[in-house]
């Protein structure tokens, strides 16, 4: 195994939206990596030009955290995720070096046409309890505090924030190309928080003590003063915008359906159950609000990860999500009023603890002994399920340990950035490819129907939620 810790310069490169422009930039400044492309199956890249330069492709959201904990010296990431980190940890180990010349859109604070909010002043002076939905909970909290909002609640979501207002949120903090783009989604932009352009960032200690000059030199042509995307370069006041007014009407019963991988099997289930839906398809998200032939039923398509919290808050009476996300929610909020009604027989995974095949342990007990003997202490654990992982580590007396939250693909973290991962596996093939082995199975999970306990007991809703649940049960193959 190559030792990446000493003498190497480690660079974190983004997946997703900034992958292509970042790859072009790196090629242009003669710092290209052969396998850094949309099609790559590799996570780890070596530079042809600098033998001591090692790069890894990470989810953008993970990059600021990975730099701050010292796993990487340099990174490229969108300003939104950098600020989301810095606003919470201003004294932390993350340093912005320079804005790069590419990026798109802004983080906006938006409301809906039906929320009855026309200006920011109203938010400061109003006595209402505002619900803010966002993928950026730290930025949203800073915004609310800065505006002196008297009362607010923040609902962090994994995605689809635009789907929540007006019925499930009063405000959303989200990315949008422009005010026009926001208006196109039937929302009103209230304020731009920041431009989303790519930034070169560094770990503070690396910058202070390690020679990174060779790499930074490559970027020198990019580090001009005018690189910063100006906030003023596009004016869009809400008056100038034509906001597409989506008519929305409160429904008696609300159902949340998943987007992503669970869409095809969910659609099959609904068909077998005899529920005809307009606007919910196999693959893409046609509409966030598909309609059914039952006039009392409201349907919304959101991330399965976000459903238990949304059901707990009564935004939905029923939802189709995974048992893993229900358990994650209940580990965080043990007395939450969410209940599993029944499993749906698809989306089966195992949530496992896995380590590198080279780690000399066969099970969690041997791992505990290894950590206690001060090897691998603190044990670095990467997981999408931070609350499940936290409880698992407590229950198994793994101490000391550090939990690193990730947003998918945690297998890429081992061995350099984490010692163990807690993640879901379907077949175990991915783990095998990354030379990992399972040392414990935490639980089996599959898709399930969850319900709000209060809806099940409420005289107004009991009958219809029961009817819907029965219908779905009948659709089980």
């Amino acid at each position: 195994m190559m030792d990446y810790r000493n003498g190497y310069i480690k660079l974190a490169l983004p997946k997703g939206r900034f992958l292509s422009p970042t790859a072009s930039l790196l090629a242009e400044i003669n710092l290209g990596f052969q396998d850094y492309s949309d099609k790559t199956k590799q996570y780890r890249l070596r530079s042809a030009r600098f033998p001591n330069l090692f790069a890894k492709i990470l989810q953008e959201k993970d990059i600021p955290i990975q730099l701050a904990v010292g796993n990487y010296d340099l990174g490229i990431c969108g300003l939104d995720w950098i600020e989301e980190f810095l606003v919470k940890y201003p004294a932390g180990a993350l340093v912005k070096i320079a804005s790069l010349n590419y990026g798109e859109g802004f983080i906006h604070v938006v409301t809906s046409t039906q929320a009855d909010i026309t200006s920011l002043d109203e938010l400061s002076n109003g006595r209402n309890d505002y619900r803010i939905v966002t993928e950026y909970p730290n930025l949203a909290e800073a915004f609310a505090l800065d505006l002196r909002m008297k009362r607010f609640r923040i609902f962090p979501v994994w995605g689809a924030a635009e789907a929540y207002p007006p019925e499930n949120a009063d405000l959303a903090v989200l990315w949008g190309k422009s005010g026009l783009d926001i208006a196109g989604q039937g929302l009103i932009p209230l304020r731009r928080l920041l431009p989303v352009n790519a930034f070169l960032i560094a770990n503070r200690e690396s910058l202070e003590s390690k020679d990174l000059s060779q790499i930074l030199d490559c970027f020198s042509s990019q580090l001009t003063d005018d690189a910063q995307t100006s906030m003023e370069n596009e004016s869009d006041t809400s008056e100038a915008l034509k906001i597409s007014d989506t008519l929305w009407r409160a429904k008696e019963i609300n159902l949340a359906l998943p987007d992503g991988h669970q869409q095809p099997p969910t659609l099959q289930l609904l068909k077998r159950a005899g529920l005809e839906l307009q606007g919910y398809s196999e693959n893409e998200v046609v509409s966030r609000r598909p309609s059914a032939d039952l006039d009392w039923l409201g349907i919304k398509v959101i991330r399965p990860q976000d459903m238990p919290l949304q059901v707990a808050n009564g935004n939905f009476d029923l939802a189709i999500t995974g048992e893993d996300w229900l358990r994650e929610h209940l580990c965080r909020f043990p007395s939450s009023p969410v209940k599993k009604l029944f499993v749906l027989g698809f989306g089966a995974v195992e949530v496992v603890a896995a380590v590198s095949q080279e780690m000399p342990v066969a099970d969690i007990h041997e791992l505990r002994a290894l950590v206690q003997s001060n090897k691998f202490a603190p044990l670095k654990v990467a997981s999408e399920y931070i609350n499940i992982a936290d409880r698992y580590l407590h229950d198994n007396r793994i101490n000391p340990c550090k939990l690193i939250p990730t947003w998918g693909a945690s297998e890429a973290f081992i061995p350099e950035d984490a010692d163990m991962l807690i993640d879901n596996v379907q077949t175990g093939k991915t783990l095998e490819q990354h030379k990992l082995k399972i040392i414990d199975v935490l639980f089996q999970s599959s898709a399930c129907l969850i319900a709000n306990k209060n809806s099940l007991a409420s005289p107004d809703k009991k009958e219809k939620t029961g009817f819907l649940a029965q219908k779905l049960r009948a659709g089980l193959s």
Partner: protein
Amino acid sequence: MKSQKCKGMRDLLPEEMLRFRRIEDVFRTSCSNWGYQEVRTPTLEFLHLFTATGTLTPSMLSKVYSFLDWDGWSGERVVLRPDGTIPVTRLYIDNLTGQELARLFYVTNIFAFEGTGKENRERWQCGAEFFGGAKVAPDVEIILLAEEVIRKLGISNVRLQLSHAGLVRALLKKLKLSPTEEAKIANRILEGDWQALTKAKAASPEVQRIMATLLSLKGKSSSFLHNVKASFPKASRDFKSSLDDLINVATLLDSLGCNYKIDISAIHGFEYYTGVCFQFLAAGRNIGGGGRYDNLVPLMNGKDVPACGFALYVDPMMKLLSLEKEKEVKSGILVKGKELTPEIAETCFTVAESLRSAEHTAELAFTDREESDYRWVILVSGKQPSPFVITDCVRGRQRDAASMAEIVKVVNEG
């Protein structure tokens, strides 16, 4: 070995606890003597108590320890108490709102993040709040109560500074800024940047003259305030009524022989003040402060009850306390067994107990520790007819004793 303590947290060792308790004891006694009653609020409160305008400044809010509780799925955040007054006001509204007057005091810790590592993230304060009652007399009461505590603690060279939150607001109004600009400058002022006032654009020459006068002059009596009033005949009504308030408090303090300085900048950190404010400074540090906050109770959905209060900051005061007197005097009795047989150990416990019953501090020795810290050492040998040897460590004398009654008698006679 590396410390296992959390960053920004502090241990209080026995010597520091002596100082801490001394402050607490003096504070409790004074408050009780003035008719205040002690209360205690929980460590966790809802964040929204503190987010409403008029409570904490944005910079204080950005340093609170807020999080979701185990049942926080509704998104309602809770916070580790970042301030003493707001929780006590909540307590008053929840429980005591029927009382026309409430004089309450508390000793509490407050939590605020601090990034430089120079200050504590958990700090202690002794506070008192006066709910109800008209202006002036309660303002003077809380100033004198705070002053009494500081005086009884023997902290010297203390400076009392008086200001008025209404004066600052009236000055800000004069600048005729947009609400956002005004809020920005107000925040800078509350964080100590008073020059923000003079730097603000759009100030007329008259306004600049008032500000320059108020920021540069520091009066020592109510006469100074009368002079200010006479120098600015065209000042706004708000300004004049605030000035009158301050004059009334200053006049009463003058006649009670309390020394102070008028310093408009003696307001720090809190947005909830509406009237007369004050600060105590010693050795260049702010050791306490307070003021009138008439809008806080209604703002927190209580009745329209005026209030004022103060807090003394325990951490800086502990450093200023001299505890030499308590150190000089040897005290306490050490009871020591010649051997540690069960019989002798039992006798040791019995001897110590009878000494404690006679109001002495008696400690048992289980090792051969240094005996010089004690006033008396009682050696239990168990040998008849004199099973005890009493050593008088101050006079350097020794004598035998035959019974416990004899020991108590010798010790009592000193």
